[in-house]
Amino acid sequence: MPSVEIRKRVIIVEDIFHEGGPVAAIPYRRGAILTIIKNPFAGRYVEDIEGFSNDLKPLGLEMARGLIDALGGDPKAIQGYGKGAIVGSAGEVEHGALWHVPGGYAMREALGGAMAIVPSAKKVAGVGARLDVPITHINASYVRSHFDAMEVGVNDAPRADEILLALAMTTGARVHDRAGGLKAADIKGEDGLR
């Protein structure tokens, strides 16, 4: 499979102190790391693409570790995660699907294990497109306080022959979490759901 050619790396970190309610004792922190790579399959239909997914694993791990560092460096502080991809207009959404395995594997590896499926979003779009990366609790998908999303994007990407790969992580519940449901404290932690 082709090599991974990186054009650009972007890291975004949000510290959220409040959203009109009480100021949080510890700010809710949300971060994303984005890598803009060349799409080796742009402009033509290629049947056999799955191997590129393996080629992305080292990049995924580097991104997951980089994001944990940007969020303070402690993997144990990470409570929510998500991933996504924006494929440039000369590619297919299927190319973005190549990120499912390496993106998820990388975050589990870097976090020292996480049970819940990593929620994801992807699309084909033009330069400057924004993507809402869905976020859920790392060990139990049904934890309602941790359902969130982070909008990401880069004004000059993805070009037609590029893919923007994204990982997102959070350090807790939404800043004014009060919509009920399963709490993080009540997780059984057996099936990745509850």
Partner: protein, 194 residues
């Protein structure tokens, strides 16, 4: 602090290739962006002293955050810029009060130097409005390789009664600069221009 901060976002960008050419070392830039309450939203207030003081606070906070996100010493910063976006219930003059009288001194203090004017932009807009923060060399405004801009935006800000304030720093100029003009090697650094 006089500033009532809802959120702080940091963004780091690293460009490793451009048009297939390696950028070595990569060009890097960072922005720190605060979302604050506009104390004068919705009414005409003659005396903007509080916003001027808020500008001083934010100059210090955002410059330190941006330099930290870039991961360099303040003295290694090469160019800088600032910008503000005022929510719909505020005036452009509110952005001016934050940016122009007092924000610059603490920024320069964080960098150790900064003989040049800090280039700026401002606008009024709604949530997720894009701010193009102009960038110029910190010691000599005429250095042509460092004229640039960095787009920043926050999906949920500014709300009507908020102001988004950004400080951007770099440790490099544009990728592959080749349009001539004053070079960094020729800087005298006395008048802030050359």
């Amino acid at each position: 602090m006089k500033a009532k901060i809802r959120k702080i976002v940091t963004i780091v960008e690293e460009t490793r290739t451009e048009m297939g050419r390696a950028i070595d070392p990569p060009t890097r830039r960072a922005a720190a962006v605060a979302v604050i309450e506009n104390p004068f939203a919705g009414r005409y207030v003659e005396d903007l002293a509080d916003l001027i003081d808020i500008g001083e606070e934010l100059g210090d906070l955002l410059a330190r955050r941006a330099v930290e996100a870039l991961g360099v010493e303040g003295s290694e910063v090469e160019s800088y810029g600032k910008a503000a976006a005022v929510g719909e219930n505020g005036e452009l003059e509110h952005a001016a009060a934050i940016l122009h009288p007092k924000l610059g001194a603490p920024v320069r203090k964080a960098l150790g130097k900064g003989a040049a004017l800090i280039p700026s932009s401002k606008k009024r807009g709604g949530p997720s409005v894009a701010l193009d923060v102009p960038l110029g060399h910190k010691d000599a405004a005429f250095v042509r390789s460092h004229f640039d801009g960095m787009e920043v935006r926050i999906a949920d800000a500014p709300r009507a009664n908020e102001i988004v304030v950004a400080v951007a720093v770099t440790d490099s100029g544009r990728p592959l600069p080749r349009v001539g003009g004053l070079t960094t090697a020729e800087i005298k650094g006395v008048d802030g221009l050359r």
